[in-house]
Assembly symmetry: C2
Homo-oligomer: 437 residues x 2
């Protein structure tokens, strides 16, 4: 029976997922990201080293616990994201990697949470990250939205807006205001969409030692948003000055302006977003899908300067993650995507009698050798039944062996002479077609 939080797609949905993954992968590779897969498990101390996540972890235990070799496994848990395993992989293999190291990783992750709409316990993520030894040039922060923008442009989905902020802007602004516990201010402002400005203001006064004026300034900052560089003027108009604030504004401007040149409207500076996880140190990203904003962000990411280190050597990084299961779950739930057939098959070879199977198989082999996905009819039923076999799966062509062979487009009914050595279906029919519904 289905298990809550562990989604499974039916064959037509899986074809859509595969084509989405193919587009994601090819876009990542066009930017030079190398594929990586890490094991599903990490030692518990690795998983817990980044804090805030202890409640989400699934640990493994062996069914036969009396086995002495089982002890080690007791300290293994399933990874809950791909960033922590990647940081572990980089430090473990740093002598064998070329830096800067650009990698993508498309894998399932697991979180032992109570499932809710659009939240899963097993789900697929597609991540890109760049890490370097010692320092990482800032321009990689500007590349992330371009890659994600190209991915989304390649998919038959609604337009997406990438929201960007920079923790240095917030932290510098709070500090410039005179607030010391900037992490607490950030965590509180991060609740803006959930609890509203009044409760945030009250909480800032209560838990972060803010005056009413300071709390109001924090909220004024969080309200700022623009798809061009104008956000920076609006921040400066608030009259707060701090060197970290200036650095953050400069970085955020670079991200917004690079994206505006690449794809106008793709990126919006949105000064209220913070991302919950502790390890981000600069740029942070989210993505809203037009018409699906109420379901929240479908990407998350940012710059992390302190996630990985070996001795005195740091490996700063920046990355972004597409929530593939989340995205597809939303679109499937709203019946927003269609696929032209439920199987890869393009042609069914009809079978006049069971003792003619070898002949039909030879035709199928000839078509397959030229890249045309082909099945032979499963039984020598009446031709009407064999056509129905194709029709029910959305397979466009049925081939009739004979002298000469003929092939029928069962959508139009058109039937023409054909030679298995040369016949080619229209390019559009070679593979299933995914489209917006």
């Amino acid at each position: 029976m289905p298990i809550s939080g562990f989604p499974e797609w039916l064959p037509p949905q899986r074809i859509i997922e595969q084509q989405v993954l193919d587009k994601i992968r090819s876009t990542f590779e066009l930017y030079g990201y190398s594929s990586l897969e890490t094991r599903a498990v990490e030692p518990l101390d690795t998983l817990l080293s980044k804090g805030e996540t202890s409640k989400e972890v699934y640990l493994l235990r062996r069914l036969q616990e009396d086995d002495p070799s089982a002890k080690q496994d007791d300290q293994l848990g399933l990874h809950f994201d791909l960033t922590v395993p990647f940081a572990r992989f980089v430090t473990e293999n740093n002598g064998k990697l070329q830096f800067p190291f650009k990698r993508y990783q498309i894998q399932k992750v697991w979180r032992g949470e109570r499932p809710q709409e659009g939240r899963y316990r097993e789900f697929l993520q597609a991540d890109i990250d760049v890490v370097n030894r010692d320092t990482l040039p800032f321009h990689f922060d500007t590349e992330m939205p371009l890659v994600i923008g190209d991915v989304f442009k390649s998919l038959p989905i609604p337009d997406a807006t990438i929201l960007v902020n920079n923790r240095k802007v917030c932290e510098g602004f709070y500090r410039g205001l005179g607030l010391e516990d900037t992490a607490q201010v950030l965590r509180t402002v991060d609740k803006l969409d959930k609890i509203g400005p009044e409760k945030v203001a009250a909480a800032l006064v209560e838990t972060a030692g803010a005056t009413d004026a300071q709390a109001a300034a924090c909220l004024a900052l969080a309200e700022i948003s623009s798809t061009d560089g104008s956000f920076a003027d609006r921040v400066r108009a608030l009259g707060v000055s701090d060197p970290l604030l200036d650095e953050g504004l400069g970085e955020l401007l670079q991200v917004v302006e690079t994206a505006a040149e690449h794809a106008p409207g793709l990126v919006r500076a949105e000064l209220k977003i913070a991302r919950g996880l502790d390890y981000y140190t600069g740029t942070v990203y989210e993505t809203m899908l037009q018409g699906y904003e109420r379901f929240g962000s479908i990407t998350s990411g940012g710059r992390y300067d302190n996630l990985a280190s070996v001795g005195n050597t740091r490996f700063p990084g920046v990355g972004i993650s597409i929530g593939v299961s989340r995205l597809l779950g939303l679109l499937f739930g709203h019946d927003a995507l269609a696929v032209s057939r439920s199987v890869p098959t393009c042609v069914v070879i009809a079978l006049a009698a069971e003792d003619k199977r070898a002949e039909s198989e030879r035709i199928a082999s000839a078509l397959r050798r030229r890249g045309i996905a082909t099945e032979v009819a499963p039984t020598a039923a009446k031709f009407g039944k064999q056509i129905q076999y194709a029709d029910r799966r959305g397979i466009p062509f049925v081939w009739f062996p004979g002298e000469p062979d003929t092939v029928k487009d069962i959508r139009s009914g058109e039937q023409v002479e054909a030679d298995a050595a040369t016949w080619q279906p229209p390019a559009v029919d070679l593979h299933p077609n995914v489209s917006a519904r």
Copy 2:
């Protein structure tokens, strides 16, 4: 640190793995198999329903066990193969699937075993199966070796021989001999390669109630092997007769003869193989890789008529599984595969100064739009350093912006004028090339 039994590949190995998986997938699809992914976990009773595997299962447990919702998770385990989850998926969704249902499934599986050479605790399998409602035509048994043969032919690996047997041959033969506990005889003969003929004969006498003559006949059957139909004559020459034996010989002949027509030498009837798992009822498959026979089989599969049912409706199936991690682990361990570069990147755009980055990015975008994987140099270092950046990764081309632009093949040193709107690398350089070493 590495965890024993949980392999991870470095980027060049991962490129090889991806290309191998691409070939596997496209071959599966050419035969009309649809992709499916099932969740990583199954209820424990589903996992244990097929017997013999209880010691291999990893169960999940939530880190915070006091959470009341954690109870259900305690009964979830990671799947140890893809056949049991597939059978569960088919019965669960049988009303939504088209039968016969041909599916492939490429996923990780986990076994909580003590690791040993070539055995992993997390590994990747690539399975195809066909299931039907009520009965499944036998010709699908003959298709499995053709698909696997086409997969292996498409890969830069040594020749493979698919070994085939049929449990009906063994069971019918043992029964015709007068032995009643045919399952026990099968299990004993299955140990032939491990313990040798004398110990098998002794065990047959001891545990299966065989006389010396019966034990000798069982061993004589197990010795028979041929790449053509001659095995059937040799079996008949042993003078045992039984209707099930005849049925099995007829089926095995079909598999061997169909394969001999498709690819001579690909399949060998090998009457000693049995496959350990209980659920096979007819054809069974293994595959030996030339030069790697001592490491055992790299595929496993067979016909299972009784694995899945809903009420009175049975869903018989036949399938075969490629042990991808096992295959690649062996070939990597023997340094048998090479790849031309460690990144997808085909071209690096050189950067004369950091303030020229936007110009280099525009060239990169133009190349990417035409499917050419391109990176811009990470820093405006001396050109020698930028060429080194490409060289260390095996990237073949470095592009120099200018008037006009030029592109240099850093292997030959040849440098020519080029226009980002039209330049095309040789097809062989577009993607990394995997080859036998």
